[in-house]
Point group: C2
């Protein structure tokens, strides 16, 4: 029986809980029996022998979980096997996720997270702790939502040397730029509409100034190129200064403009000209990554970068990766 | 020590041998020690304690391997753990690959193949034999060359229900159509040029009549949708009848034409209209697959569909998938 603690019970945590309920029969076949023994948000928790559907209902009705053990008490003291950490990203110091993950790993518990903060701040340290304590830290959901990146390289491109990585890691910027390309309207106007549609946040700087893409780039570069990068190592330029005229000039020559995150000789997030028929030229909020390898050449993966079910999908794929008895042969 | 027999020593078999030599140090770290104990082509073989570099040199110099055990004798009697089967595809009866694979599986040996024939003809039967004998049959290289498809779905999209699959599975057709799109020249003229460039075969029908794409579709559908399809179940239309005028009409409305292989309610290979900005609209010989899932939504993967190193990449990734002690944590 795999005992799971879900810390962070917002959109992502609830999405995971829903899939764990909905796909119980299938998942049990693949990984064996499991049970959620704790859910916690920043206000409270439910632990012990409870019905996960009931916990979801409580959270939805009351917007918070009842008083109980704190997240930290759960992580430090409760009996569980797997921590699913889905608290909100904080790229300044990684907290509270960083402490949750560290404490769990120190106890030898496996961790799956969707939280970029701890990995941006302390990737190498966390990997060392997990190795030392013979447990695993998986984080597919931190980059590109439902777009597989980490397992894509480790599993599907196993045996290849990764030469460089280049991609679209922020759906909000891609949405704004692909609309500017089509409609030739100013950045500010499209941003305002994106905010109305909830595609951009009220304070859009994390997205449009390139910080979100840079955070994901740090994680990808650390995980796939084996370097030890921090956010300060990324040269970042956002998309605020791009004008409709820039698109005119680009498109006359068969190019468009996208915010590209790159890791090769250097780490860089910046608006770049790309040929209109390049696989990284996508519309809307899609994410994409092009991986340059020694054997397979260039491989591109495209997917939805965010969303409740999409992020849950990435976490569930990590869950299966960790515990599946046998996924190779399907008959 | 993993003992490997390579049966089929043309471009693909030699490519695999080269990578097994070139990446010996890395691969040994990942899967443990290994040794090629047999290589065979249709004319001869080298078995026992030999230098793989020497075997490559013999094949290159003499165009054939020396007299020795036949491929079938090796598969039936030699002591090995893994058969890498890279003989030429025959979609009529799957031979000689089908017998090689069956005999190895019956002996409980793992098999990795790049040969579409046996899987198109007898997918279900081969999977049953492998299950019964507690061994594995992996075949990433049969579809899309370096473009990961099978592991992509099984590993990266684990936990998702696959609703449908749609893609570009023949690089020759995509090359011809993407040039027709740009240059508005007749099919026959572009085909002739593609033949000069060795992108199309002297007898192009296997490619341009859609049979190659349909063969790959059968494998993908069987492996990922869990059905039991044969080539006769695919409705096939090739690209011979497409005119430059058809591109004019399509492009006026923002569309282009590509040969699309689809598996959902039915299995179909046919030229289709696709919006110009769709992720499946690619130039040149690239392959691509769009996978529709219940959780992750639509995910697309793009890569090189053929090539010596590219196909070797797919085989090596299967090799690692089979034997890796631990690929999850990289530090």
């Amino acid at each position: 029986m795999i005992k799971i603690a879900i810390i962070g019970f917002g959109t992502v945590g609830q999405g995971v809980a829903e899939v764990l309920i909905e796909k119980k029969e299938y998942l049990t076949k693949v990984v064996g029996d499991y049970k959620v023994v704790a859910v916690a948000d920043s206000k409270g928790s439910i632990t012990g022998d409870f019905d996960l559907n009931h916990a979801l209902k409580v959270k939805r009705d009351k917007k918070r979980l009842p008083d109980g053990l704190t997240a930290l008490e759960i992580v430090k003291n409760l009996d569980f096997d797997l921590l699913i950490e889905t608290t909100t990203t904080n790229i300044e110091d990684g907290e509270p996720g960083l402490t949750h993950i560290k404490e769990a790993l120190k106890r030898g518990k496996d961790v799956i997270t969707s939280n970029k903060g701890p990995l941006v701040v302390s990737y190498k340290e966390l990997m060392k702790i997990s190795k030392k304590n013979n447990c695993n830290l998986l984080f597919e959901a931190t980059v590109g939502g439902a777009m597989p990146v980490i397992k894509f390289v480790r599993r599907c491109l196993a045996g290849n040397k990764i030469l460089s990585i280049k991609g679209i890691l922020n759906g909000t910027c891609n949405y704004i730029l692909s609309r500017m390309e089509k409609e030739k309207m100013p950045f500010k106007q499209i941003l305002a509409e994106a905010q109305e549609l909830k595609i951009a946040e009220a304070d859009p700087s994390y997205d449009v100034d390139g910080i979100d893409a840079a955070s994901k780039l740090v994680i990808v570069a650390n995980a796939l190129l084996g370097i030890d990068a921090k956010l300060k190592d990324v040269k970042i330029t956002g998309i605020r200064e791009i004008t409709p005229e820039a698109f005119d000039v680009a498109m006359e020559k068969g190019y468009t403009i996208r915010l590209i995150a790159e890791a090769g000789n250097e780490l860089k997030v910046s608006p770049r000209l790309i040929p209109l028929n390049h696989p990284l030229v996508l519309q809307g909020t899609l994410n994409a990554l092009q991986i340059k390898t020694d054997l397979a050449g260039d491989v591109v993966v495209v997917g939805k970068g965010a969303g409740k079910r999409e992020t849950a999908s990435a976490i569930i794929s990590d869950f299966i990766d960790l515990y599946a008895n046998q996924t190779i042969n399907f008959i």
